[in-house]
Point group: C2
Chain length 196, copies 2
DNA sequence: CTGAACTATCTATCTACATAGGTAGTTGGT
DNA sequence: ACCAACTACCTATGTAGATAGATAGTTCAG
């Protein structure tokens, strides 16, 4: 269901085609909610049927059109309602921690590999989040720039602060993941020293 | 696919019925990988068909039986192979952070609620993980006690250390989640002070 | 000896998501 | 004029997982 609200969130900033939306899921919202285009197009159609968004045909080149979706009042309402409703937490499914719990079954070098990849993975993510966060804070990020145009200047700081806050959470979490994996590498060095 | 390996992990300690396994998913592995029994029973049947585990009928009461599954050599091999293979990271889907990024659309009190629930949620989890971690370290935890019986005493510390390490990761992550939510509450107090 | 709680399963339906394609028009550079 | 890269969709199939049941035997306490 969250995909729907991720789409509504995007559409509160500006009207988008399915393709545009899909691209956003490679950045911006994509950092907190991933979705492939094969999920996005049908969901947009469903949302239109339910009146949350409205599609309009716009010219695209000499002999083609594309569908641009805008959020409706009913969509805004639905989004607001979701924003004000309690979240439910998905049950834990964490392959990395599960694997770590059974490291006695892994080759120590594979275990080390696993932790190094964990570090690399989160280091990459943090690098990405940090760049995007910076671009949001100084409004060089195109998406946020468009969004802010809908608000009076005195609200901008607040809105930017929320986005930055979200990214801070992702970054902080990434950092503990890295720290955890580092401790794991230390543990492995202690209990199963690397051959040299 | 990870459900399969979670089940194999369980079965490396001792043979289990589907029901036993399902119960384990309410604790032990369940802390890192959740699954409902309606997923477990069919998966066990599939695994038996593929020769990873073996079911044997055991008497249960005067006129009934139950199926107890044991891991086979092929199952142990498959588990080892998985343990030595690189993990792939699931794309991010994080409703809490997504919501935080759009807090300008929420009523400030709802936003506060959301963050307070976030804190409560992880506080509960941490409390649980801490208890289990302690029980593993001092071997009062039944599951780990059974598992350790299969190993010589000098390996016990290592095995326990891995489990403790996994729980440490969960706890550390829970703690940053709480810290993050606290900062969010501070931010809300700054940008949209509570009415009194 | 009865009822409640627990054990041991199984099913059926639904949605979300992953994966992997396909078609057809557009834009921009050489 | 052509080709590559991009835009704008759409489909189909498969699996994972959520949800909500049903059935039937067992154990144990009052």
């Amino acid at each position: 269901m969250s995909l729907r609200y991720a789409l509504l969130a995007l559409l509160t900033a500006e009207p988008l085609t399915g393709y545009d939306a899909a691209k956003r899921f490679g950045g911006s919202v994509g950092h907190v909610w991933h979705a492939p285009d094969s999920q996005i197009y049908p969901e947009l159609r469903r949302m239109e049927k339910e009146g949350l968004i409205e599609g309009e045909q716009v010219r695209w080149g000499p002999k083609s059109t594309k569908t641009r979706y805008s959020i409706t009042d009913s969509g805004v309402l639905a989004f607001r309602e979701w924003m004000d409703s309690p979240l439910d937490y998905a049950p834990v499914r964490d392959a990395a921690h599960m694997r770590a719990a059974y490291f006695e079954w892994a080759d120590p070098d594979s275990a080390r590999d696993c932790l190094r990849r964990h570090i690399d993975h989160y280091a990459d993510q943090i690098a990405c989040w940090t760049v995007v966060r910076a671009a949001i804070v100084d409004a060089t990020n195109a998406t946020i720039a468009v969004r802010l145009r809908k608000y009076p200047a005195e609200e901008h700081e607040r809105i930017v602060a929320f986005k930055a806050f979200a990214y801070d959470g992702l970054i902080a979490r990434g950092e503990v993941e890295i720290e955890w994996a580092r401790k794991g590498l230390e543990l492995l060095d202690k209990v199963s020293p690397e051959k040299y």
